[in-house]
Each structure stands twice: as C-alpha cells, then as structure tokens.
Amino acid sequence: MKDLIDEALKVAPETKCSIQGNRVKILAPVESVIKIGELVKRYGFDHIESVCGTDYPADNTIEVLYFVGSVREELKSKVVILGSRIPRGEPIFPTLTNIWPGAYFHEREEYEMLGIRFEGHPQLARLLLPDDWDDIPPLRKDFHVKKWGAAEREDAGLKIERAVLHHPPPECIPSADDFKKVRNPSFLERFQQAFDVPEYDTLGRQLFDWVQKDERTIAISFGIQHPGSGHMRLVLGVDGDTVTEVEPDIGYVHRGKEKMCEYKNYFQNIPQLERPTIHDSTGMIFPYVLAAEEILDIADKVPERAKYLRIIMAEFNRILNHTYWLGIMGIFTGHSTMFMWAMGDREIIIDAAQRLGGARVTFAYLVPGGVRNDAPEGWEDYVLKACDKFEKRLDRYREIYFENPLFLDRTVGVGVLSRQDAIDLGIVGPALRASGVYSDTRKDEPYSLYDTIDFDVPVMMDGDSYARCMVSYMEMYQSLRIIRQAVKMMKPGPVRYHFRGRVRGKVGEAYARTEAARGSISFYIVSDGKEKPYRVKINTPSFRNLLAGVKKILPGHRIADVPVIHWSLNYWAVDADR
C-alpha cells in the first residue's frame, strides 16, 4: 500500500494520507481527485462500495469520501477511502462515475441529501425524498428535525391523565360520533388538496420522459401497488413486450435513518438500525456494533462466548432471510407450494432464534460490548436438533423446486449478469458470487471469530437468475454448518462487557463491514467525542444491487421476466431506502 501512497503524493503533493489497519485514507485536493481515482483503480481497487458526504459547518466544508474495495485476492481485505473537502457554500465535485460506474446512484443520493453537485454526472436527479420536498438537504447540519410527537398526541386526544384512570371510561352509551367511520376529516381534506396540486408526481413524470425515447416506446409503471414490485416502482420503457429502458423510482420507505442516528446515543440507535431488513436484523446491526465498538474503544473487551452467540444469531438471520426470499420467489415463478414450504420451515429456525432473542424477527440482540442475554438452559441441544430437522427439509427443496422443469424454464438464462459488469457496478452478495466472483467478507476480512470456523463459499459462474437462487440455497447449508460448529465451540463465560458511567466515543471515525444475507454491508461512523455519533453512513447491499443491477440487466427482457429478475437479485426496498 505504501507505493500507492507514494504515487498519489507524486500526483498531488498536498495530499494527506493515513493508514489505519486495513483502511487507507487519501484526502486529495479537488482538482486532482480524478487523477488519483484513476491511479487507485489501476492499482486494483475496482469495486465501489459507497459514497459518503459529511457536513462540517465549523470548518465551512463538506467532506466527500469514496469507499472503494477490491475483488482481487491480495487486496480483498483492504478499503481505500478517497475523498476531498469542498467549500460548503459552493459544493461542486467532479463525478467519478467514469472510473467506477457503480457510483451512479450513490452520487445521486448524496446530491439529494447534502446538495453536492457532481459535475459531469449523466442524470443528476432526485432519488429518495418526496416530491413536495421544499426544505434544505436533510443531512446538512443546519437542518434540524423537531419531534413531531407531543402535538400529534394532543391531536389524537391521548391525554396523559388516561394513564392514571382506575376504571375504564364509561363508554357503554354510544354517541353520535361513533357512527361516523371517518374520524378526522381535517386531515382528509388536507390530503384531498394534495391531489389537486398538478405537480404531485414530478419525479415520476421526469422518469417517464427519460424512458420514452421514441414513438414506439411506451412508458409503464411497474409498482408500487403491484404483486411483483414490493415497496418501489420501476418505470419501464416498453417496445411491444420487450423492455428497452428502466428507471427505478425508490424512496417510498425512506425514513431518514442517517439523520435520526445523530439524535440517539450508541445504544438507542440499535432498535431503529435493525429495521431496514427485519428478517435479517442481526446482519444489519452487526457492522454497526463493530464500528461502534471501535469508536467506544472496547473492541478487544468483547467476551469470546458473545462472539460465538453473535455468529449463531447472524447465521440464523441469514437462513431466515433466504427462506423468506425463496418463498416469495416461489410465488413469482408460479409455484405456491414453495411459498408454503419455505414459510413453514422458516418457523423451525424462528423457534430456535426466539428462545434466544425474545422476538420473532427483531431481536435487538447485539449491543456494543457483547450480546444482551445468555442462552437459556438446554438451548444448545434444541438448536442442534432444529438444524438437523431443517437440513432434512432443505434436501426436499431440490426435487420440488430446483430440479423442477417449470422453475428451470423461468430462470435459466434469464437475467444474465457478466462477471466484469458485476464488479464494475459494485454488485454484492449472492448476486456477485453467482457471477463467478469469489468474494465474501467473512473470508476476506474475518470478523468476530469467523476465522476459527470452517465453511465454504458457494460460487457459480452462470450469472443468471437460477445461479443466484442456487447460491442462496447452498448458503443455507453452509449457515447450518457454521451454527453447528459455533454451538460446539462455545464455552461458558461472560457474554457482555459491563459499561460503567456515561458512554462516550473517542474522536475519530470507523468503517466496519460484514457479510449480511444480502451481501456486504458497511457502516461509516464519525464521532466527535460526544455520546451521540456525528455522522452515520449506512451502506446497504440492496441499494448497491438493484439500482445498478436492474438498469444493466433488465433491458432486452420480456415484461413477464421482470419480477423474476427483480427478486432474484434479492432486493428489499426498505433496505435500500433506509
């Protein structure tokens, strides 16, 4: 890595470089960012992970950082953080989409969230925020979110006095209001007005214009109330039955998590951060917890038993995610038996997980410093039995689904993504491994004792929908293997580091990544030494997968294949919108 830094210094002498473990941070002046970007790409960092902007009103600057990983064997564990500081009043940054095409949507997101204008970006348009957004970009520090709660509660007539009532109020005598089904007409009126405004679907119209290139093309809306779309919309340009162009319209589940993180301390952030993918809730907060431990300076104090319990919970969640996904895939390919089987067998794993985590999906089990509770008595035997039972059920899927000609016809050769495209667009997870790239963060950069466990990473070369299904299916066997080993390797002991006093982070930044069910997921946390983080960047696999993937894969396919391809990429809109 030294030679990379030396070369970067040759290009621009005022570049600031620092190496922190596997992370190389290069802060260059804006003029030479493109040159250094090309240098980094030539060195072997070709897999874009994320783009993050951070607002520093004290210095009157905005820091733009590009996180670039690699799929090469010798560079896999390293991440280059390339960026620059630009003035806050005039935030103009040269686009790097020519170097890493996968940065396309990341840049659009930062344009919207921080108002950074990327010069030379092909289509710099709004992505996540609602159409009627008329405020400053939300991730600027001078944008303050006020609590909506108190006034709204008064509206709802929820008086605190109700809490001390001994008897329930005498409601046996019905009043005339009870007959009205519509209870709050003022709000209805307000929303009725929203329809009268002609500009209520501004972004949608823009997208329709984009995909409608010529007279033969018709733009159609796939979603948001469509069985095959989920919580998002694809605007398809269609020539006859063939898709010519796709523009995803997302943001229907955008809840502003990155802004909310700045208002909560490191523990209070846990429940909200696992919500983006609740069927993979542990996979979602795993990198957050690792990054927070680095900030709180307790990374080496986590007990060994807690690390194994974390692994078990993460692998449970991987199975929960893949079975859910397989079940919905069954519906999309017209195979409802698969849905019933997958949803029923999912419960075997939920039964084991809820005994440990105390909930069906949202466990909030991992905390900085360990896990929240130890396993109950007799739980280890229960898990081993559940694994055996589940594995028997998994074997049956092969004959009813994966060897079924009806399924093969729908998926084999449909939605092929080549190896080079997958790397260029920054695809992660099963979709990347199905395109023939051996890349798994558990192996590349082992965390939390994954290096003590023996498991394989399934890789397929075809890159079509079938390969993506098959990779996920085989991953479930590996997860069972990991769980069995971890349960046997666990020794009794403490499970949580006991904090005393107020919990404050040190000044600095941390970038942690792990392998969640849908792919590599990373958190970038900046701390200014207070109880709450200064900036949290969530980089989710779905955002990287569909947005880059669908635009590349879908054109040329029939409309009937859209749900299959869309779901085979394992896309979860809540995950992408955050």
């Binding site: 609602p130 159409d131 009627d132 939300p138 944008f143 979110v145 609590k147 909506w148 709660g149 709204e152 509660r153 709802a156 008897h167 329930p168 005498p170 409601e171 046996c172 005598i173 019905p174 009043s175 009870d178 007959f179 089904k181 209870r183 709050n184 709000f187 209805l188 929303f191 929203a194 329809f195 209520y200 948001i224 109330q225 069985p227 989920g230 919580h231 943001g251 229907y252 589940v253 955008h254 809840r255 502003g256 802004k259 909310m260 429940p271 909200q272 983006p276 069927h279 859910y324 079940g327 919905i328 019933m340 949803m343 029923g344 999912r346 419960e347 909930a359 069906r360 999906v361 949202t362």
Partner: protein
C-alpha cells in the same frame, strides 16, 4: 399492611381486558333503538326479515377478507409468515388475492407510511369498494413509532385512513395478526346492512349482551 391499590379497581381492569366493560343499567345497542323505539310493525319486520338478512350478509363479509397487496414497509415479513403454513390466516378467509383493488375489502397497512407513499396509499384506499376495513399494523402505522424524529414519516396512518383495528408490535408477531383478524370479524358481526358499525362501545360488550 394495607395496600392503597383498590382491589376492585384491579378487578375491573382485568375484567375489562378480558371481555370489555359490563353495561350498567343502560340498554346498549344502536343509538336509534335506545333513544327512539321503533314501531311494532318495524320491529316485526326486522325480526323476520331484517335480522336474518343482516346475519347472512355479515356472514359473507366475515370470511372473504381479501387484503390489497400494498406493502408499505417491513411488517410485510410477518404478513408473509402468517400467510405461510404455520399460522395460515387463510383459515379466517384472509386470502392474499393479488388481484384487482376492486375485489379487495381489507387494507393491511404493513408499517411506516412515508410522505411519498401517503398520497398513493390514499389513492388505493379510495379505489376500494365499500364496505372496506383497515388494520394498522405495527407501531409505525399506529403512531409513527420509532420515527418520531424522522422528516419523512407520517405520524400514524389514521390521519389519512380510518382504522378499524390497531395491532401493537414492531413487527407484531404472526399470532397477534391472527388476533386482530378475529377482532375485526367481531366488528363485522356488529355491522348493519349499509356497512356501518353500530358503535365501538357495543363491540366491547361481552357476547351475551349483544343483539343478534
């Protein structure tokens, strides 16, 4: 050692949680009936034709609760689980219809409603034919829940759509969803022919006090 907690109060609370408050000397029912008694002819007509017809129509409504397929957020995971083979809400007539909105009569609001989604959700609700019901699922749909500090989340779906049953939880476990469906069916049993619910207080009565 005398407790200041009134034993009768706790008794009343337990009772109310179990089967709703008991009527206290008031004839409980539809407002018209309580305030203005009907004529003998009308009552006879209701007894012979009106009530059996209402029962029949309500019976039809009870077991054909087809939800719209609109997933607002992450609670749809638990709807998937409850539609799966372990919990199987199809036993209660909740069939994932996957079809036209015109055939649906139940809207399960599965989680957060954002500012971008809210007009679309209202549009979907307006397209459904009467009688239609709405179940708010999860803390986000009820009140905004976790997203009190979010700039993009509607604080409760009952601001735009009248909600019939609220299910607490984040997400509510599948058995809680089944409970809510059963509660909604209780409510439908109390409906008249025009699809109006008699009253919420009426619903809270134990079944033995209800008019049939």
């Amino acid at each position: 050692m005398q407790s200041k907690i009134d034993a009768r109060a706790i008794e009343a609370i337990i009772q109310s949680r179990k089967e709703g408050p008991q009527p206290t000397g008031v004839l409980v029912g539809k407002v018209d009936e309580v305030i203005k008694p009907k004529s003998l002819l009308r009552r006879t007509f209701d007894y012979i034709i009106g009530e059996p017809l209402t029962y029949l129509v309500n019976w039809g409504r009870l077991y054909s609760l087809w939800p719209t397929h609109v997933e607002t957020a992450c609670c749809s995971v638990e709807i998937g689980a409850s539609a799966g083979s372990r919990w199987d809400i199809e036993r209660f007539g909740v069939l994932e219809a996957f079809g036209s909105l015109r055939q649906c009569d139940l809207m399960l609001v599965m989680g957060t409603v954002t500012r971008k989604l809210a007009p679309r959700l209202k549009l979907i609700w307006d397209q459904m034919p009467e009688p239609k019901f709405c179940i708010a699922m999860g803390a986000c749909a009820i009140s905004g829940g976790l997203y009190e500090q979010s700039y993009n989340v509607l604080q409760g779906v009952d601001k735009i759509i009248p909600v019939d049953v609220y299910i607490p939880g984040c997400p509510p476990p599948a058995p809680a969803v089944i409970d809510a469906i059963v509660k909604l069916q209780e409510k439908i049993r109390c409906m008249d022919l025009k699809g109006r619910v008699a009253s919420e207080a009426y619903l809270r009565l134990s079944p033995k006090w209800r008019f049939r």
